[in-house]
Amino acid sequence: MAKQYDFLFRLLMLGDSGVGKTCMLRRFTESDFDTTHISTIGIDFKMKTLEVDGTKVRVQIWDTAGQERYQTITKQYYRRAQGVIFVYDITDKLSFKHIAKWVSDVDEYTTQKMETILVGNKCDESLRREVSKNQGTKLAGSYGMEFFETSASKNINISESFERLTELVLQAHKRDVDHLLGSLDSYLDKAGLEEDKESTVPHCPQRSCAC
């Protein structure tokens, strides 16, 4: 059977428990999700095919929900992911503060290059807001990430954020391929990747969110 897609990327969602990672994922993969196929291996709505610049990209998204506090379990996911969505809950200040820990964790425990974005979820609950949009933008800026405010329940910016991350990963992947073609030497390759990491972190202006 021919492949239905050109690339397969693995994305990972990180953030405190209760920030709504699973809800976001569920919203994103809604149409692909088949509730009749869940009994044997548990629910894992993680696959979705996107089309980015005419390229078919299959994304597999790992959700760490329920396992955030199991340090070694979450680490397992880090290894092969190419992109990370850091999620906090705009109604929960602590989850926002903890983003720093999740980011440093990823920095430390991954050797490969990762594309990352920051997401403040539950932006529909403006009455309970504890973290301003400006704070989110600032934090994202300090890490050189793009920032979105989303709402899984109102379906605001969900697919936008996943798609943007996929785009970033695809771009990075293409750059990496160019690098590899340019040099077969593994040492240089490694050095190149490292260099890449420094120079290509996007510093785009933060996207404004619709809410």
Binding site: I41, G42, A65, G66, Q67, R69, T72, K97, S104, D107
Partner: protein, 677 residues
């Protein structure tokens, strides 16, 4: 849902009705799963009292011509009581309604029904309410408490015992609250279980990293691989995940030199184990293996929690106008809950040696940050300087300190305190051969090796008082009087302040009043002149103690970093060896000082799990007081209980004990020199 005609949604009443009629006239269920599903899962929707109330309401409605239905309602009640007895022991509302039910049945003259609703024989489930459980010491057998001597199967069995004890306490509502609210507030049982899991992972890493050579590290890894194998054999997947997770952590997997010493078959088993619990395909390997297991088995909690959250997010609880239970969701949740809750009625297979349990429990009370463990890993096998170092590592953003309070679980100081006490008792039970309250130095050193690096209960640095601290090295488990955490057994440097023990990290936060007056008061019977605290360290004012505090003639080469510190070694229960080095006072703890001082590691390197090598004089001043076999902190404050007999201890005793190279010194008071003000 079997042959039910309920479809995809049904009201609670309809569900109950279906359950009632699931029983035949003789009370047989004929393998109908619905009653069990409903009785387990109802708490997702209503309280048990509410459900019982519903049954109680419909029970009298059925008149005499419907005796059959009434009987079936009683069958259902009986089934509920038999299947989930804990609820009928713990849920007061449910108990009250059950009693009401009995009264109604009695009034209606249904003797036959009456006897079905009997909760008087249910054993107590009080243990589920308590976070810890005290088990009576049944076995008096001696056990090796040395890690190196423990067989993988022993470790696996005892870890399984701990796991089982911890996991079976987690109730339906604990899981439910975690799934719905996603936080562990007021969810101590689950929090403990996760702490145990993380504790095992850290313990595995630290035991490996505590070894100094690649070869010995490889031996420890090999041992843990075998432990993992045994855990699989015992069908304890949760601890298996914790052990394998610890071993696959980057702090271990980066140890290239160590890996060279691993036998190929060990590597093979390691890979198999890693594969088994890997997250690939949503843990399909694990799920398959778990489903194939029969009998006693412990699931990987994290995986099933994830499942519960996923199901919860995907399906609504109620369908339609909120009156009908979503049966698809109920059934999905049930499949997971059934696995988790069935552990409560399982019976542990292992008859544990409690001494070993205490030891393990204490060993697992770790709180290290990932960074600290990684640092240790780097210290053991530094990054290859030939390779370009990752540019991200040096300037990675620092994690905020209060992260720890948010996500990682710090051990409860009181709990740790209790654990230490138990271990001390165990150690004495097993190693104090002549029951005189002392163990040999040699034994002590070996046992201490079970606790590599156990001092680092990090406390936050912060503004505090300036005090006259002196670094001490304890050979005896001691508590920090600020955070009540464990100070340490050996070789890393806790602080003593005016007789108050505390962590180096805690000293800045110490808000206790200076204890010297209190202490001197308590010691008054021994030394009425103790009031002269301001004595210089080199001139202890107390004649009684004068020979016990002595000048250390030269800096020991093994511990160059410590050369300005006073070290007190303690063994046995209240005995310490005091060695005063050149300058007794170091103070002014700096907040920039790393929590894990470099020189501490050097000490560990040279000392191989023991305290710094040094010469010390043996002071033949001991008491053969039986009380010393006990934990010295029992009377609340340390040293007070034991001090009087010590001070007056006869020298005869010590001559009978030539192998004990310890003494009791009340030297801290005399150390007070320059008060930093």
């Amino acid at each position: 849902m079997g042959s039910s005609t309920l479809g995809k949604a049904a009201s609670l009443d309809a569900l109950l009705n279906e359950c009632i009629h699931g029983f035949d006239d003789s009370g047989d269920l004929q393998a109908n799963p619905l009653p069990r599903i409903v009785l387990l899962m109802h708490r997702w929707y209503v309280t048990s009292s509410e459900l019982a109330r519903k049954l109680l309401m419909i029970y009298p409605i059925f008149g005499d011509n419907c005796q059959r239905t009434r009987l079936k309602i009683c069958y259902l009640m009986r089934y509920w009581i038999v299947t989930f007895p804990a609820e009928f022991n713990l849920d007061l509302g449910l108990i009250r309604i059950t009693e009401e039910f009995r009264d109604v049945a009695a009034q209606l003259g249904c003797e036959e029904h009456f006897k079905f609703i009997d909760i008087s024989t249910i054993p107590s489930y009080d243990w589920m309410r308590k976070i810890t459980q005290r088990k009576k010491q049944t076995k008096k057998g001696k056990a090796s408490l040395l890690f190196d001597h423990l067989e993988p199967i022993e470790l696996a069995e005892h870890l399984t015992f701990l796991e089982f004890k911890s996991i079976r306490r987690i109730s339906f509502t604990d899981y439910q609250s975690y799934v719905i609210h996603g936080c562990l507030v007021d969810n101590l049982t689950l929090e403990r279980s996760i702490a145990l899991f993380n504790g095992v992972s850290q313990w595995v890493q630290l035991m490996v990293l505590s070894k100094l050579t690649p070869q010995t590290r490889a031996e420890v890894i090999t041992k843990y691989i075998h432990v993992a194998q045994k855990l699989l054999h015992l069908q304890n997947f949760n601890t298996l995940m914790a052990v394998v997770g610890g071993l696959s952590h980057s702090s271990i997997s980066r140890l290239k030199e160590t890996h060279l010493y691993l036998a190929p078959e060990v590597v093979k088993i390691w890979n198999e184990m890693t594969e088994l619990v890997s997250s690939n395909n949503n843990y399909s390997c694990y799920r398959k293996a778990f489903n194939e297991c029969q009998g006693f088995k412990i699931p990987v909690l994290g995986v099933h929690l994830k499942d519960l959250i996923a199901v919860h997010v995907v399906f609504p609880d109620w369908i339609g106008d909120g009156k009908k239970v979503n049966l698809v969701k109920m059934h999905q949740l049930y499949m997971t809950f059934n696995e988790l809750v069935s552990l409560q009625s399982a019976v542990a297979q292992v008859e544990p040696n409690m001494d070993l349990i205490y030891l393990l429990t204490l060993s697992l009370d770790l709180y290290y940050t990932e960074d600290e463990i990684y640092e240790l890993s780097l210290l053991r096998e530094p990054r290859n300087s030939k390779l370009p170092t990752s540019p991200t590592t040096p300037n990675k953003p620092l994690a905020p300190l209060d992260w720890a309070s948010g996500v990682a679980t710090k051990p409860d100081p009181c709990l740790v305190n209790k654990h230490i006490r138990k271990v001390v008792d165990s150690v004495f039970r097993n190693y104090d051969h002549d029951r005189d309250g002392y163990i040999s130095q040699e034994d002590f050193e070996s046992i201490a090796a079970n606790f590599p690096l156990l001092d680092s209960f990090c406390c936050k640095m912060g503004p505090g008082f300036v005090h006259n601290f002196q670094e001490m090295t304890y050979l005896k488990p001691t508590f920090c009087e600020h955070c009540a955490g464990f100070v340490c057994i050996y070789n890393i440097l806790p602080y003593v302040y005016c007789g108050v023990n505390c962590h180096k990290q805690c000293r800045e936060l110490l808000v206790l009043a200076c204890r010297k007056l209190i202490r001197s008061g308590s010691l008054g019977s021994v030394s009425p002149v103790r009031g002269t605290h301001s004595s210089l360290p080199s001139s202890p004012t107390l004649p009684v103690y004068e020979d016990e505090v002595f000048e250390f003639p030269a800096v020991t080469p093994a511990v160059p970093a410590l050369d300005t510190q006073s070290i007190t070694l303690m063994t046995g229960s209240a005995q310490r060896i005091s060695v005063r080095l050149q300058r007794a006072t170091i103070s002014q703890a700096t907040q920039t000082e790393p929590l894990w001082p470099e020189h501490a590691w050097e000490v560990a390197d040279s000392g191989a799990h023991t305290f710094p090598k040094m010469k010390y004089r043996t002071h033949r001043k001991m008491s053969k007081n039986k009380g010393f076999a006990c934990w010295e902190n029992q009377s609340g404050r340390q040293y007070q209980a034991g001090s009087a007999p010590h001070g007056t201890g006869s020298s005869v005793d010590s001559q009978e004990k030539p192998d004990v190279s310890v003494e009791h010194v009340q030297n801290r008071v005399t150390h007070r020199t320059k008060v930093m003000e």
